[in-house]
Amino acid sequence: MADPEDPYKTLGIARSATPDDIRSAYRKLAKQHHPDLNPGNAASEERFKKVSAANELLSDPEKRARFDRGEIDAGGQEQAQGPSYRDYADNAAGRRYSRGGPEAAEWNSEDISDMFGSMFGAGRPRGDGRMRGQDEHYSLTTDFLDAVNGATRRLTLPDGRTLDVKIPMGTTGGQVLRLRGQGGAGRGGGQSGDALISVQVTPHRHFERSGNDIRLILPVTISEAVLGGPVQVPTPQGPVKMQIPPNSDSGTELRLRGRGVPAHGGQAAGNLYARLSIVIGTPDVALKEFLATWTPQLPDNPRKAMEGQE
């Protein structure tokens, strides 16, 4: 290890060095270790102090001669340093020299949103050559009930890989699922991209979805409508029994609470709305005869509201 006290060794020059040699050796080291150009680097700062002291001693011919004769040692050459630029520039005072001028805010709301993006280089090629893979886009068609109840579907990619895609409960058509790290491979050890899967939902024969509620048209017989009674209603989670109140007309909407899209992702379960539709069904002689001789107690005109509107 070099003797830290020997200014020749500090500057890496021979004892016979000319003043030009000294100057050029000092410049070379100062460029490398100037503390204002190496803020926060204590080793550079220490090295620069020694280099400056050595230069201070050897660049003065008289001092150099006395040192060479052994009259003085290398100690005590450290100059009192004036104010260092780094001491101010690291503080708010340094904003005077920032690009936007002293009034420019150094943080704004845009910074906050992309703070972990642009400021620290996420998603960009990194200095070490790593590059994140591309996101890849796929689409997946699923049937209505799988979208409502959730399911796992296997997707075969163009490159032959298969992906097991978990379709979460309550997925809606057009929703995009992100599978982290399942996209294009990264380069140079970089992260893989994501697979983005756009989900299409095929319509159901009976169910119709609006938000988390599900509607269906429920056919009922004349006697179920008039007399009321229990009927089976299909729901996305299987049939349930529902009581039809007596004298329910076509178009009456009955609610099954919580039988729509199940609760998911912090959203409460939706309801199922069954809209009654009276069906006469197979022609029935007795019914026909009864109606032919039937006189209603209170004759009704169901088209009353339409009259005078032709």
């Binding site: 004036g82 340094g94 970089g190």
Partner: protein
């Protein structure tokens, strides 16, 4: 806060014409008050830095703006970095701070991509 006369008096060998040219080039940005320049501590330190760059490091005035621009960007980032660190220290729970630190250490070793 000192005037240009005092600044020159305190810095032997500082040439007034050089200094005025640096101000004109916007390399040094003293405030202007009642017709004269007023130098804050940071401006004084900046003048010292520019003199060291010019004379000790032998950087000519063609290259100087490139270096100053990089220096300014370096310190702007250091201020932001420090503000970010302070914000994390003041607002993030201890366990999050430990998680962050551990994550950065692992990443620095090349353990995470």
């Amino acid at each position: 806060m000192i005037s240009i006369e005092i600044l020159i008096a305190q810095n032997s060998g500082l040439d007034r014409q050089d200094l005025e040219r640096w101000i004109q080039n916007d390399w040094v940005r003293p405030e202007r008050q009642s017709g004269g320049f007023v130098f804050q501590d940071i401006d004084v330190a900046r003048v010292k830095l520019i003199r060291e760059l010019r004379h000790d490091l032998d950087i000519d005035e063609e290259a100087l703006p490139v270096i100053l621009s990089l220096v300014d960007q370096l310190y702007a980032l250091r201020r932001r970095f420090q503000a970010l660190g302070e914000a994390i220290t003041e607002t993030a729970p201890d366990d999050l701070q430990r998680t962050l630190a551990a994550h950065l250490v692992v990443r620095a070793r090349g353990g995470l991509h």
